[in-house]
C-alpha cells in the first residue's frame, strides 16, 4: 500500500510539473505578451521593454519555467531596490494587474469556490443518487420516467442557459432569489446560503443527471446480479438485498464524484460569471483576458493539483468500498 501511495504521489508531482511547463509554453506560444497589456498608453518600445524586464516576461520559456518551479519552493523577487515586490513561497507567480501574488488571490477566491462547489456537490449527490435509486427500484414507474427525462435534459442543456434561466425566472421575474453577489459564511450563514441557492441549483441540476443515470444503471445491474438473486431466493428482505446492492453502486459513484468535486473546486467559470461570483473560475478567465501569465499558470496548476489529489483520494477509498479491489 505504501509503495502504491508513494508511486502515485511521485506520478502526481511529475504531472504537475509537466502541466506547468505546457501552460507556460502555450501561453507564450499564443503570442500573448503580458507587458503589452500592462504597458499603458502610449506604449513606446522603451516603456514596453522596461515593463517586460520588470515583470520578467522578457525571458525564455525555459527560464520562466525554472523560475516558476524555484519560486514554488523559495519564493520570487521582481524588480530591484525600493521597487521590489516579493512573492513568498510557495509562489505561484505575481499578478501585476492585481498588484498581488497569485497565492493570495487564490486564497481570496477559494471561499467562494469552496462554498459553490461543496453545496452543489452535496445537492447533486442527494438528488442524483436519490432519483437514480428510486427509478431503479421502481423501474418503469412515474419516478423513473420523470428522472430519466430530467437526466436527459440536464445532460443536454448548456450551463449558461440554465444559469440565465434561473437568474431570469427566480431573480427578476419572481424576485425570489438574489441574482448576484456573495456573502461569506462567517458574516451570515443564512445570507451565505441564500445567495448561493441559485448557483447550487444550476450546477447540481447539470451534474445530477450523470448520477441519476449511473446510479440507476448500476443498481439495476446489481439487483439482477447472481448473488443478489440468490439472496432474494433464500428469503432475504428487500432492505437487506438493497443494502448489498448499494455497495456495488458506490464504486463508480465515488470515482465520478471525485472528478466532479475537484473540477468544481477548480472553479466553475460559467456559473460564476452568470451569478457575478468571484471564485477561481472567474479569476482564471480574467487572467486569460488580461494576458496575466501568473494567474493563468497559478490557477491552472492549482486546479490540476486538486484534480490529482481528488483522484488519489478516490483511488485510496476504492479498496475500502470494494473488497475485490483490495484483494487484487
Amino acid at each position: 500500500m505504501i509503495v502504491y501511495i508513494a508511486r502515485r504521489i511521485f506520478t502526481a508531482v511529475f504531472m504537475l510539473l509537466a502541466i506547468a511547463f505546457v501552460t507556460i509554453s502555450l501561453f507564450f506560444g499564443a503570442s500573448k505578451d503580458p507587458a503589452r497589456a500592462m504597458c499603458g498608453k502610449p506604449c513606446p518600445p522603451e516603456t514596453r521593454a522596461k515593463v517586460s524586464a520588470y515583470m520578467q516576461t522578457d525571458q525564455s520559456v525555459v527560464w520562466q519555467y525554472t523560475e516558476f518551479v524555484k519560486g514554488l519552493f523559495v519564493g520570487r523577487t521582481y524588480g530591484e531596490g525600493a521597487q521590489q515586490v516579493h512573492c513568498h513561497a510557495p509562489c505561484f507567480g505575481y499578478s501585476f494587474p492585481n498588484r498581488s501574488d497569485v497565492t493570495t488571490l487564490i486564497a481570496e477566491r477559494l471561499p467562494v469556490t469552496l462554498s459553490l462547489a461543496l453545496g452543489a456537490a452535496v445537492l447533486c449527490l442527494v438528488v442524483g443518487i436519490g432519483l437514480g435509486a428510486l427509478s431503479a427500484i421502481r423501474k418503469g414507474g412515474a419516478v423513473d420516467r420523470f428522472s430519466t427525462g430530467f437526466a436527459m435534459f440536464g445532460l443536454s442543456v448548456p450551463t449558461f442557459l440554465v444559469g440565465l434561466l434561473v437568474v431570469q425566472v427566480f431573480g427578476f421575474m419572481l424576485n425570489a432569489l438574489p441574482y448576484s453577489g456573495f456573502v461569506s459564511f462567517s458574516e451570515s450563514p443564512t445570507d451565505w446560503a441564500w445567495h448561493l441557492i441559485g448557483p447550487w441549483m444550476v450546477l447540481s441540476f447539470i451534474l445530477a443527471a450523470g448520477y441519476i443515470r449511473v446510479t440507476r444503471t448500476q443498481l439495476l445491474n446489481e439487483l439482477s446480479a447472481d448473488h443478489l438473486v440468490a439472496m432474494t431466493a433464500r428469503g432475504a428482505s428487500t432492505r437487506q438485498v438493497n443494502r448489498h446492492a448499494v455497495r456495488g453502486v458506490m464504486v463508480p459513484v465515488v470515482a465520478m464524484f471525485a472528478l466532479d468535486v475537484t473540477a468544481l473546486l477548480g472553479g466553475s467559470v460559467i456559473a460564476e460569471r452568470v451569478f457575478s461570483l468571484h471564485g477561481l473560475g472567474d479569476l482564471l478567465l480574467s487572467g486569460v483576458n488580461e494576458s496575466d501569465l501568473s494567474i493563468v499558470v497559478g490557477v491552472t496548476l492549482f486546479s490540476a493539483f486538486l484534480i490529482i489529489v481528488g483522484n488519489l483520494i478516490a483511488d485510496l477509498l476504492m479498496p475500502l468500498l470494494d473488497p475485490r479491489i483490495r484483494r487484487a
Partner: protein, 567 residues
C-alpha cells in the same frame, strides 16, 4: 489602444471621441435626434440622496498612478487634477482649471508649462494641497509597480525615460516646484496639448506622508475631491461619503449632488442592464458602466419608460478599414481610392445596429467634436458605394483579378466577422476577391502592430484619449507608429505628413493646431490609406431617479461627476 472593442471589454474605460452637434453633422441622412430628458444638462445637481454605481469590473480602485479613465469618470469623485473637463450635451467639451487657477501658461512655445494652485485647498485629512503633492502623485506613476495607465507624460517630461518613481528617494527634476503653489513642467519637445495631459489621472495630488502602503493606497486614498472612501471591500463594494474639506466654489466641474455613493463591483454585465431596465428599489438611483448589447435595444426602444432613461452618444468611436500600403496589391493609390468607392458603408452601418444605435457613416479621420473636425468626402460614392467609379479607378491602375486578404480579430465580438464579410461582398462587386482571415485577438493585434505584417487589409477601431488630432491622427498615421505595437496598421509613411504632425503637436495655440490637424486629415485621405466607415455610438442606461445623465460629444461616456439624485 488600437482596438476599440478589446479595450472596452476588459479595461472598460478609457477614452474618447467626438460629437455631432446639430450644425456639424457628417451625414444628415443618417442622423436622428438623440435628445431625451437626460440630454438636457442642469447647471447643478440637487443636494442629498444616495447614488448607486453598478460596475461590471471585477474590482474598482481609486488609484490614480496607473488609471486609464477619463477625467469625467468616478475616479474623480475622490481625486482632482490640475485641469479637468466640462462637458455639455450639445457643445464641445472644454478644458477648465481644477486645482490650478488657469489651464497653464507657456512662454517658450510649449516646452515649459507653468501652473499655479488655488490658495487654501485642503485634503480630506486636513493637510493643505501643495504643488509638492501634485509632483509626488505624478512621480508615483513612474514606479514599476504602477505600470499601465495613461502615460503621455512619461514620454514628454525631461529625464522621464530613466526615472523609476519616488520610492528609492529620487525625484524627477523636470517637475519643478516653486513655493507651495507653483509647479513647472519641463518637456523634451514643445507640446501644445500639455494642459489636456495634466487633466489625466496621474496628475492628482498624493501626500507622500500618506503613501505608506503604495500597493493598496488606491483602496483608502486621501481625497482632494468632494468624496472620500469610507469603506472598501475589494471586488465587492466601496462606500463614499462627503469630504468635508472640499469646497464647491473652488471646483468648476463636480456638482457633488448625492450625499453618499455606493459602488458595487464585479457584477455581471447583463444582470446590471436587466436591473436598470427593471428599475426597482435602489436601482432607481443607479448608474453603471454596463454595455448594452444590440439584442437589448429593441426592448428598450419599445418602452418609453426605459428609452427615456437611456443616454445615447451623439458621436463615438472611429471605425475604419486599414489598407497595408506596403503590400504590392495596395501600393497604387488608385487601387486604395477604388476600395474607398467600393465599400458599402450603409450595409456596415446596419451590421453595427443602424444609425440610431450603431453609428454614423463617415468619410474623415477625425470625428465630429474633435477640434478641427471638418466634414469632407474625397471619395463620395454615396452610402452604398459607387461601383462604376471604383471599376474605373482599378482599370486606370491596370489592375484586374486582384486578390487581397482581410484580417480581423475573431474573439472580440461576432460583429467583426459580419463586418469583414460585408466588406468582402462589397469588393466582390468590383472584381476584387477578398480572403477573410479571422485571428485570435492577441495574434491579430501583434500582427497589425508589427512592421512586416503579413496582411493586406484589417478592420480597426479607435478612440482618442483627449480631444485633439494628436490623439487620433498621430497614433494611426505617423511613421513612428509602424511596428513595436504602434497603431499604424496601414503602414502609412509620408515624410511630409510626419513633419506636419510634428508641427501640429508642438503648436501651443490649440485653435491654430486644430486647423493644422484638419489639413493633415485631408492630406492623409488623399493618399487613401484607410476607408473611414463609421463613428460608432455608445449607450448607457440610468435609474428613473437619476438626473443630469447624458453622454457628451466627447468623450463617449456619461459624465459621472455631474449626476444627481431626484429625491
Amino acid at each position: 489602444m488600437a482596438n476599440r472593442s478589446r479595450r472596452v471589454v476588459p479595461a472598460g474605460l478609457a477614452l474618447v471621441l467626438a460629437l455631432v452637434t446639430a450644425g456639424c453633422n457628417a451625414n444628415s441622412q443618417s442622423t436622428e435626434p438623440t435628445k431625451d430628458k437626460n440630454t438636457t444638462a442642469l447647471k447643478s445637481a440637487p443636494r442629498g440622496g444616495t447614488l448607486h454605481y453598478l460596475s461590471r469590473r471585477a474590482t474598482e480602485s481609486f488609484e490614480t498612478a496607473n488609471a486609464q479613465m477619463v477625467p469625467t469618470s468616478r475616479l474623480r469623485w475622490v481625486h482632482r487634477g490640475l485641469t479637468s473637463w466640462r462637458t455639455l450635451p450639445d457643445k464641445d467639451t472644454i478644458l477648465v482649471p481644477d486645482l490650478a487657477t488657469d489651464t497653464g501658461t507657456t512662454d517658450d512655445g510649449g516646452k515649459t508649462w507653468t501652473f499655479t494652485l488655488q490658495e487654501g485647498l485642503k485634503f480630506s485629512n486636513g493637510s493643505p494641497i501643495t504643488a509638492q503633492d501634485v509632483k509626488y502623485g505624478i512621480e508615483r506613476s513612474f514606479a514599476p509597480m504602477f505600470q499601465g495607465g495613461l502615460g503621455y507624460h512619461k514620454t514628454l517630461l525631461v529625464g522621464a525615460t530613466d526615472y523609476d518613481g519616488p520610492y528609492d528617494g529620487k525625484e524627477l527634476d523636470s517637475i519643478e516646484v516653486v513655493g507651495d503653489h507653483k509647479i513647472v513642467f519641463h518637456l523634451t519637445r514643445p507640446f501644445g496639448n500639455w494642459p489636456w495631459i495634466v487633466s489625466m489621472p496621474a496628475f492628482a495630488p498624493v501626500p507622500a506622508a500618506a503613501d505608506t502602503e503604495p500597493e493598496t493606497y488606491g483602496e483608502h486614498p486621501v481625497a482632494s475631491g468632494p468624496y472620500q472612501v469610507t469603506s472598501f471591500r475589494k471586488g465587492s463594494q466601496a462606500v463614499l461619503d462627503r469630504n468635508p474639506n472640499w469646497k464647491a466654489d473652488t471646483d468648476q466641474t463636480r456638482f457633488a449632488g448625492p450625499d453618499k455613493i455606493v459602488l458595487d463591483m464585479g457584477l455581471n454585465n447583463d444582470t446590471i442592464v436587466q436591473r436598470l431596465i427593471d428599475d426597482k428599489g435602489e436601482d432607481k438611483t443607479a448608474i453603471s458602466n454596463a454595455l448594452i448589447s444590440p439584442s437589448q435595444f429593441q426592448r428598450i426602444e419599445s418602452d418609453p419608460s426605459i428609452s427615456d432613461r437611456m443616454a445615447n452618444s451623439p458621436s463615438g468611436y472611429f471605425r475604419y478599414l486599414a489598407m497595408n500600403v506596403k503590400r504590392p496589391g495596395l501600393s497604387d493609390v488608385r487601387v486604395r481610392q477604388a476600395i474607398n468607392y467600393a465599400v458599402n458603408k450603409a450595409e456596415l452601418q446596419s451590421v453595427y445596429g443602424g444609425p440610431k444605435f450603431g453609428g454614423q457613416i463617415t468619410s474623415t479621420i477625425m470625428t465630429p467634436g474633435i477640434p478641427g473636425y471638418t466634414e469632407y468626402n474625397l471619395y463620395d460614392g454615396g452610402d452604398t458605394g459607387n461601383v462604376d467609379k471604383a471599376k474605373e479607378l482599378l482599370a486606370d491602375a491596370g489592375v484586374s483579378g486582384l486578390k487581397l486578404t482581410l484580417t480581423y480579430p475573431t474573439d472580440v465580438s461576432a460583429i467583426e466577422e459580419k463586418e469583414a464579410q460585408s466588406i468582402k461582398n462589397s469588393l466582390a462587386r468590383v472584381g476584387v476577391k477578398v480572403e477573410l482571415k479571422g485571428l485570435d485577438g492577441n495574434t491579430w493585434s501583434e500582427l497589425v502592430s508589427s512592421a512586416d505584417g503579413d496582411y493586406d487589409m484589417t478592420t480597426n477601431g479607435w478612440g482618442a484619449d483627449f480631444p485633439s488630432g494628436m490623439s487620433t491622427i498621430q497614433p494611426l498615421f505617423a511613421s513612428s507608429e509602424i511596428d513595436n505595437g504602434g497603431g499604424n496598421a496601414s503602414k502609412f509613411s509620408n515624410p511630409e505628413v510626419d513633419a506636419a504632425i510634428d508641427a501640429a503637436i508642438a503648436e501651443p495655440d490649440l485653435d491654430k493646431a486644430a486647423e493644422m490637424w484638419a489639413a493633415i486629415d485631408k492630406q492623409i485621405m488623399e493618399d487613401a490609406p484607410i476607408v473611414p466607415i463609421l463613428v460608432q455610438r455608445t449607450q448607457a442606461l440610468a435609474g428613473s431617479k437619476i438626473l443630469n445623465y447624458f453622454i457628451p460629444a466627447y468623450p463617449p461616456f456619461a459624465n459621472e461627476l455631474v449626476v444627481g439624485v431626484d429625491r
